[in-house]
Amino acid sequence: MHSTAHADLFDALADPMRRRIVDLLRAGEQPVNDIVAELDIHQSGVSRHLRILNDAGFVRVRADGPRRLYQLRAEPFRELDDWISGYRRLWEGRLDRLAEELERRKKARANRREKT
């Protein structure tokens, strides 16, 4: 997994307007016109944001007659989740071992006390 690819994913989500588009698309596939109406910004701005989301792999587009319909793709979200979860798992494992080490020390102290 490449961190540069993750940087692109995060860059794509860093813009508040693009996060709003993602939120809108969570309800399901939407035509561009509905997204424009909902966001209250110019169509060219929406098109630019959708192009960036599409380049980063967050959305896919299909044509339905004259309409262009956008929907979310699962893969980049899963990739980001896996990446963040990896750090969580690493530290959960470490803290388990930290607890075990504290336990070992406690037992060693108790043993020393018994001997004296």
Partner: protein
């Protein structure tokens, strides 16, 4: 403080001082740092802001050794970090420089450890910030990390 991933633990029958020692001495770190299947040898530990923490992670389990080799990674990896805050026995912060993953550009991860004593228990709050640069971490990750997995599943289920 930007919060990205937070993990909390309560350790019984111990004090913040004892837990602090396990985080801030070579012997303490080597006793638990891991990860599983790895042992750690601390080479340099300068416990002050800006001070270096250098350690080597060595794969010891046969399957870990095989995995590292197959992934094109060395069996022992030197890891560099530096302390950014040292307030015994309450608060420790350090930043890792991740520069050993093949095909991945170097990046930094910040870790903040907070210890609170309550009677004979010690509560630990660990905050992880994973960053390529500060801005995207702040703007993009915060508020999203808990939702990403659910979101991916929800999209896939459609």
């Amino acid at each position: 403080m930007r919060r990205t991933v937070t993990i909390e633990r309560t350790f019984k029958d111990t004090t913040p001082e004892e837990v602090w020692e396990l985080w801030t001495t070579a012997e303490g770190i080597e006793s638990w740092w891991g990860p599983d299947g790895f042992k750690v040898k601390v080479e340099k530990l300068e416990l002050r802001p800006g001070g270096a923490l250098l350690y080597v992670m060595i794969a010891v389990d046969a399957d870990k050794v095989a995995f590292m080799k197959s992934a094109g990674m060395p069996v022992s990896v030197e890891t560099r970090a530096y302390f950014t805050e040292v307030t015994p026995p309450r608060r420790l912060a350090f930043t890792h420089i991740v520069n050993f993953v093949p095909g991945v550009e170097p990046y930094e991860t910040a870790t903040i450890v907070e210890l609170h004593g309550h009677g004979d228990e010690t509560h630990l709050v660990l905050t992880l910030e994973v960053m390529h640069d500060e801005e995207w971490t702040q703007r993009a990750v915060s508020g999203w990390e808990n939702e990403l997995g659910k979101l991916a599943k929800a999209i896939a289920a459609r």
